[in-house]
Chain length 303, copies 2
């Protein structure tokens, strides 16, 4: 049976492999490395790149441990007979956000994570989702196909369930629009919630992690040689502001991290290199920008 | 005795007066006007400027009414014997955020507001605070003197109390720094909490509203002719990202508004024209930027 040490080690290696893959994809820059320790237990390694293809990107590994405490037990709505201060937790995973320089290339996010408590509670969570500045239906479909293939290898229900979950999660209520073209999102996967055992779920999570680089390569290679002008860059910058809004207002992980003394620079490595806000901006009718908004305002069934 | 109709009318006129004052200060642009209605009751008028001195600024008036409901009563922790669905509320006020083009000029924020319930509950709230991209102690002191004068005309305890309140409120815990050089912040002022009657408190709130333009004029006139270069603009853009972080992560009004179907464009008129994020950015030792961070990381008693 897989155990938490093996999971952590594999996540750490995944970070290395993904960084190597992304350096190859970028073709110009390499990742810096920031190792950090957490006073209460555990630590992490945050790796950041500022490249030619990836204007600003971060790939973060962490394995955080400590006393669970009342706030965590309450926030996570965990039912247990053990007192919160007698419970220890481990949270480990890899998180990625990449902001490409090319306005026709999409922003991408991935997270794979594992959580356990000393009372035997455990689960996996994670997801991958794509936020194009300009939605290209063919590329959105290709992305969803790659995710569906990874899911279908483990459980035929996963893709439809986790696609719907992503549509719900990556949604800016205050804008009434999706963050992007979605992807998959899943949380609290364990034997009870899925019927699959720990080894089976771990195999699924590993495959999601391994799907990341090839999936993003598909998107980058299809877009990075396309011509663009200042109109595209301006729109990219406006879309980046929506990414900021989602992460700071709605993303539960970001919020929880910032309000519980998490490592700020690692949490906010998801921020774009820059962003623009214009009061009540409306793209011209029938423009490519308006078409993208149309896609974002109406959740799509890509497959 | 002052009543809610007179308060609303005065706030609406304050918006007009402030916009006129700011157009004069800007010297190049005028405010646009967006009137809006709220389906559940009331509405507002959002006025936005993109000028030479004020790169992006908004002056918003609103007077929103409706059924209070359980969520509002709970959020505001109101003790009442009347059922939430039988209570009506009125919330009215003026909110301002101005982002100047010149990196040595400060961002400024003001809010004056009045809230009442149909059971007789009422209070005033508001504040003014200054967020310089570069802290100039002389100008911070001048700003606080202007606020102290306005407060002292009504109650000698107000300035020290409300200055401390602002230091607490306009604080980015996740950065361990203040949003700026502070100012004053106050909430739930009524006869019970202050010992002043409604007319007296209204006179105070009116004076705060009237202090805004002259106080900002002092800051702008002292800074707008100073030379600057790309280093200043770069730092301005980084500081603007902190302003975004405060408003989207910590500001209760913004959060409450976005999560309760408020008018998004009016709430987010506070966003800067653009902002920059750099992973783990550290200004050079002893630079003006480092000196500013020093001020922000250590709350000052300016007077």
């Amino acid at each position: 049976m897989i155990n938490s040490t093996l999971i952590q080690d594999w996540f750490k290696q995944l970070q290395t492999d993904i960084c190597t893959g992304l350096e190859d994809l970028d073709g110009s820059a390499s990742f810096g490395t920031d190792n950090w320790l957490r006073a209460e237990g555990g630590g992490g390694c945050t790796r950041v790149i500022n490249g030619q293809t990836i204007e600003k990107g971060g790939v973060a590994f962490s394995a955080v441990t400590g006393q669970a405490g009342e706030k965590m037990i309450k926030t996570l709505q965990i039912e247990t007979n053990i007192a919160p201060e007698e419970l220890n937790f481990l949270a480990t995973g890899v998180s990625i956000v990449l902001h490409p320089r090319h306005p026709l290339s999409p922003i991408i996010h991935m997270n794979v994570r594992y959580f356990e408590l000393s009372d035997g509670t455990w689960w996996f969570g994670g997801g991958i989702d794509l936020s194009p500045h300009y939605v290209d239906a063919t590329l959105a479909i290709r992305f969803h196909q790659q995710l569906k293939e990874a899911c279908d290898a483990h459980n035929a229900d996963f893709y439809p369930q986790f696609k719907t979950w992503a549509d719900k999660y990556f949604y800016l209520s205050h804008r009434q629009e999706s963050r992007g073209v979605g992807g998959i999102f899943f949380d609290r996967l364990n034997d009870k919630t899925t019927g699959l055992d720990k080894n089976q779920l771990w195999a699924f999570v590993k495959q999601i992690g391994q799907t990341f680089v090839p999936a993003y390569r598909t998107q980058i290679e299809a877009t990075r040689h396309l011509p663009f002008d200042d109109t595209h860059l301006h729109w990219q910058s406006l879309r980046r502001s929506r990414y900021v809004e989602f992460n700071l207002v709605w993303d539960r992980g970001t919020h929880f991290g910032l309000q519980t003394n998490g490592r700020t620079e690692s949490i906010l490595m998801s921020m774009p290199p820059q962003a623009t806000w214009i009061y009540d901006y409306q793209p011209a009718a029938d423009s490519p920008e308006a078409k993208t908004l149309d896609y974002l305002k109406n959740v799509q069934n890509w497959l």
